[in-house]
């Protein structure tokens, strides 16, 4: 009974998780929009900047608390990608030493990159750009 409670989030917990995901995820996107609107940076620059910010906050130990609070709200934005790269590198480096710096980057992100390539190929075959 107790086990089941831990595994299955209850209804209220779920609703709270949605609220935090919305607030934190929305805030990250909103702040990125402010940067876009107040500078001449391209979206590519902003995405790169956010990824780097996620990596740095991870190093400072500040990103995991955001993930604990906001769940997908911190994982889904591209800053979560920087977090995943860095976390993988740190974990592997702790486990394997210097080699881990080179094997760790794709530990958590390999799946995302692979998925993007596979789906990219499938839709490139199936679909044609419109406007």
């Amino acid at each position: 009974m107790l086990m089941q409670f831990q595994l299955k989030p209850r209804r209220e917990e779920k609703i709270i998780s949605y609220i935090w995901a919305f607030l934190i995820g929305g805030l990250i996107c909103g702040l990125a929009q402010l940067v876009l609107d107040h500078t001449n940076l391209t979206p590519a620059h902003v995405l790169v900047g956010l990824t780097m910010l996620g990596a740095i906050l991870t190093g400072l130990g500040l990103y995991q608390p955001i993930v604990d609070l906001a769940g997908a709200g911190a994982v889904v934005p591209v800053s979560g990608f920087g977090n995943a790269i860095t976390t993988g590198m740190i974990n592997e480096a702790k486990r394997l030493g210097w080699i881990g710096l080179f094997t760790g980057a794709f530990e958590f992100t390999g799946l995302g990159v692979t998925a993007a390539i596979i789906f990219g190929f499938i839709f490139a075959v199936l679909s044609v750009p419109k406007d």
Partner: protein, 334 residues
């Protein structure tokens, strides 16, 4: 002695070449715009039965040229030279269209000002006595331009209010030493002007100084006042560039009443086109479609086209260069 040179940068034709036939083709978005019924032909979609937007652009340009020949009632074999240009690297749309037309070809490039460059050079060749019939054309295509200058079509991009939408289409005209139709009377070749605009989303502001410079030069060289014309049309300055152009000419003591911009009139505000249309086809289709219908109907008698171009490439702005602009003016009178 250059007896047709006027002032510093202008020419006046002694036997003004006649525009005996025009042809314009636009895409569905342009056809849905405020002057959508003023073009000769509308293509149903961006690919127009081809595999790629580049092939579609070639086809549109070729067919616009054929339309102009048909409307001018002249066979391709009677045309000496084809002068055409577009926005793609190595002006491939024009070269590939010429491949199928079998007319001796001079490729020209003035970015979105290309059609005015073609009309100027073509008229000089005719008035110089080097040819009897010349066809000029220019094309652009939203998708091929996006692919070359910006991003993939389906990429999530929020367009800025200053950015402009490349017109899909082509415009062509047959100019001849004789016949019936409006005449190209003068031309002013513009200087490249760079006033330090660096943002590729701000083409209008990058080109407005060149438009103002060429326009003022034109009036001075020919001793004309703006009132001489029933309509003055800039090429593709868009809403923002148009305001800047008006401000710049006002600084020179000129107020314009009968002025508009092809990029502004081709799209509605609601058409998600930012500050307006752009591309070689913008000035070409609005002039040979919309303005020519007005000339034919007698609503207009004298128009001045000041077609504008931004002479940048993705490489130059990525290297931090500012955007040079150019404008050529051509007067057309009935």
């Amino acid at each position: 002695m250059a007896d047709k040179l006027r002032g510093i940068q202008s020419v006046q034709f002694i036997n003004p070449p006649v525009i005996i036939g025009v042809g314009t083709i636009v895409g569905p978005k342009e056809a849905a715009g405020p002057i959508g019924d003023r073009f000769h032909q509308v293509i149903p979609d961006y690919l127009y039965g081809e595999d790629t937007p580049e092939q579609a652009e070639t086809k549109i340009l070729k067919e616009a040229i054929e339309l102009a020949l048909k409307n001018g009632n002249i066979a391709p074999s009677a045309v000496q030279f084809l002068l055409a240009g577009d926005l793609l690297n190595q002006i491939v749309s024009s070269g590939f269209a010429a491949r199928q037309l079998g007319i001796a070809f001079l490729g020209i490039y003035g970015a979105c000002s290309t059609i005015a460059e073609g009309l100027s050079i073509g008229s000089m060749i005719i008035d110089g006595g080097f040819a009897d019939n010349i066809v000029v054309g220019a094309s652009s295509h939203y998708q091929s331009a996006e692919r070359q200058y910006r991003y993939p079509i389906e990429l999530n991009i929020q367009h800025k209010a200053t950015s402009q939408w490349t017109v899909t289409g082509a415009g062509a005209a047959v100019i001849a030493s004789g016949g019936q139709g409006p005449r190209v009377t003068t031309a002013t070749i513009g200087k490249v002007m760079d006033m330090g605009t660096k943002n590729p989303n701000e083409m209008g502001p990058a080109m407005a100084p060149a438009a103002a410079d060429t326009f003022i030069r034109h009036l001075q060289d020919l001793g004309r006042s703006p009132e001489y014309y029933d309509l003055i049309l800039t090429g593709d300055l868009g809403n923002v560039g148009k305001q800047l152009f008006l401000t710049l000419v006002k600084k020179n003591g000129i107020t314009l009443n009968k002025y508009d911009d092809c990029g502004v009139i081709i799209f509605d505000k609601g058409q998600r086109s930012g500050a307006g249309g752009s591309g070689c086809a913008c000035a070409a289709t609005v002039t040979f479609g919309h303005a020519f219908k007005e000339l034919e109907a007698g609503n207009l008698k004298k128009i001045l086209l000041v077609a504008t171009g931004a002479l940048l490439s993705p490489l130059t702005y990525q290297q931090g260069e500012s955007i040079p602009g150019i404008a050529h003016a051509v007067s057309i009178e009935t």
